[in-house]
C-alpha cells in the first residue's frame, strides 16, 4: 500500500515538474498585465531597465522592481525610468503604478562560501514572503499570483526568486510566468544563472545566435538591449 502511495506521489511530482512550465501558457489577455523585474545591480540592472523601457507602461501595469538591499544604484535607475515614462505618457504621478521591493542578497561578490548558505536562506524566505505568502492575504485577489509576469536576467539572487516560483507551482499556488533574458555580454556560453534556470523558466531568451542549440528551448530575436 505504502509503495503504491510513494509511486503515486513520485509520479504526480514528476508530472508537475514536466508540466508546470506550460500549465498557464498564453493566458487570455486581460486589459493590463502586472509585471515584476529583478534588478541584479550594475550591468544587469542597466540591461533589465532597457528591456522594461521597451514595454507599453499602460498595458504592463503595475510594475514591481525587486532590488537587493543596499543597491541604491538600481533603485535610483528604476525611479529615473519611471519618471521619464511618466513624463512621456503624461501619467499622473499622484498614484504611481510601480513599487520597489527590497530583498536580502543571496551572495555578495567575493563572499566566502561558508557564510553564503545563511544569507541564501534569508533571501529565500524574503522571496517566499513576496511570491507565496503575501498574495494569500491580499484583499479581493484570491488565487491571483503576486504578478502576471516576472522578468529575470541574473545574477545570483534571481535564482532564489525563480526557485520560489517553482515551489509555488509545485504546491499549486498561483504563480507568475517567468521570462529569463540572458545578458548581451554572453556570446558563446550561458552565465551560471542562465544554466541553473534554463529548465525552470517559461521563456528563455538569448541575444546571440551562437547560444541557440538545435532543438533547444531558447529564443533568439537579435540584440534586445
Amino acid at each position: 500500500m505504502s509503495t503504491c502511495t510513494t509511486i503515486l506521489v513520485l509520479l504526480s511530482l514528476f508530472f508537475c515538474i514536466r508540466h508546470t512550465r506550460l500549465a498557464s501558457a498564453n493566458p487570455r489577455p486581460p486589459q493590463t498585465c502586472s509585471i515584476a523585474i529583478f534588478l541584479g545591480s550594475g550591468g544587469h540592472t542597466t540591461e533589465a531597465l532597457k528591456l522594461v523601457s521597451a514595454l507599453d507602461f499602460g498595458r504592463y501595469s503595475p510594475r514591481t522592481y525587486i532590488v537587493s538591499k543596499g543597491d541604491t544604484f538600481s533603485a535610483q535607475k528604476a525611479l529615473a525610468l519611471e519618471h521619464i515614462k511618466a513624463a512621456d505618457h503624461a501619467f499622473s504621478d499622484d498614484q504611481p503604478q510601480y513599487k520597489l521591493l527590497f530583498i536580502p542578497r543571496a551572495r555578495r561578490v567575493h563572499q566566502s562560501l561558508l557564510s553564503t548558505p545563511p544569507d541564501a536562506v534569508k533571501s529565500l524566505l524574503a522571496c517566499m514572503r513576496i511570491v507565496a505568502v503575501r498574495p494569500l492575504f491580499k484583499k479581493g485577489a484570491f488565487r491571483q499570483p503576486f504578478v502576471d509576469l516576472l522578468i529575470l536576467n541574473g545574477p545570483g539572487t534571481c535564482v532564489i526568486l525563480c526557485i520560489t516560483i517553482f515551489l509555488n507551482r509545485l504546491i499549486g499556488l498561483p504563480s507568475p510566468r517567468v521570462m529569463y533574458v540572458e545578458s548581451f555580454a554572453r556570446v558563446k556560453s550561458l552565465s551560471l544563472s542562465g544554466k541553473l534556470l534554463y529548465h525552470f523558466t517559461d521563456r528563455f531568451v538569448v541575444q546571440w545566435p551562437g547560444l541557440v542549440q538545435p532543438g533547444g528551448r531558447e529564443i533568439y530575436r537579435g540584440c534586445l538591449v
Binding site: 521597451a54 514595454l55 509576469l149 556570446v187 556560453s189 530575436r221 537579435g222
Partner: protein
C-alpha cells in the same frame, strides 16, 4: 582631434598605463590626435603617482592629457571624441556604438571567466568595432580606419515588447 579612453568604473591598470605610454602617445599624435581624456575608474597608475588624484592635466609626447578618476557625464566626452578606446564591458560598448563613435576595445585579460574577449571578437567579426590587446594597441591605432566600421543598429524596443506581448497572450 580628441581620443577618449575609459575603463568604466572597473580597474584596468594596464590599459591606462598603455594609453599614456610613449608608443601609443606618439602614434596618436602621428594620426592627428592631439587631445586625450582618460577615465581611469579604479585603475592605479604606478608609473606616475601624480595621476592618481581625482583629476590631473599634463602634456606628453605632443598630446594634451587629462586624467579623471570618474567623469560624471561620460556621454559628453564620448560625443566630443573622434575615437573611443575602452575596456570590453558590454555596457560601455553598447553606449559608445549607439553614439556612432569609432571604437577600439581592449578586453581585460586579468578577469576570471573572461567573456569580454568573446563579446569583443564577436562584434569585431560583425565589423562594429576593432578589438586589440595591450601589446598591439599602438599598431592598431596606426592602422585604424573608422570609415571601414559597420554602423551598429539603433535600439529597437519592439523586439522585446513583441516577445512579451506574445508570451502574455496580447498577440
Amino acid at each position: 582631434m580628441l581620443v577618449f579612453v575609459t575603463v568604466g568604473s572597473t580597474r584596468f591598470d594596464a590599459l591606462v598605463e598603455a594609453s599614456i605610454s610613449e608608443p601609443v602617445l606618439s602614434t596618436l599624435r602621428d594620426s592627428g590626435y592631439d587631445r586625450l581624456i582618460i577615465q581611469r575608474g579604479n585603475s592605479v597608475i604606478e608609473s606616475s603617482e601624480e595621476f592618481n588624484g581625482e583629476s590631473c592635466t599634463i602634456q606628453r609626447h605632443g598630446v594634451d592629457i587629462e586624467i579623471w578618476r570618474f567623469k560624471p557625464f561620460i556621454q559628453a566626452e564620448c560625443e566630443q571624441a573622434d575615437l573611443v578606446i575602452s575596456h570590453a564591458g558590454s555596457g560601455t560598448i553598447l553606449d559608445v556604438l549607439r553614439l556612432g563613435k569609432p571604437l577600439i576595445v581592449v578586453p581585460n585579460p586579468t578577469l576570471l571567466d573572461n567573456h569580454q574577449e568573446e563579446l569583443a571578437s564577436a562584434l569585431q567579426i560583425l565589423g562594429h568595432l576593432k578589438a586589440t590587446s595591450i601589446q598591439d594597441l599602438a599598431s592598431t591605432i596606426a592602422s585604424f580606419e573608422p570609415r571601414d566600421l559597420v554602423p551598429f543598429p539603433p535600439f529597437d524596443g519592439t523586439k522585446f515588447s513583441k516577445l512579451v506581448d506574445e508570451e502574455m497572450g496580447f498577440i
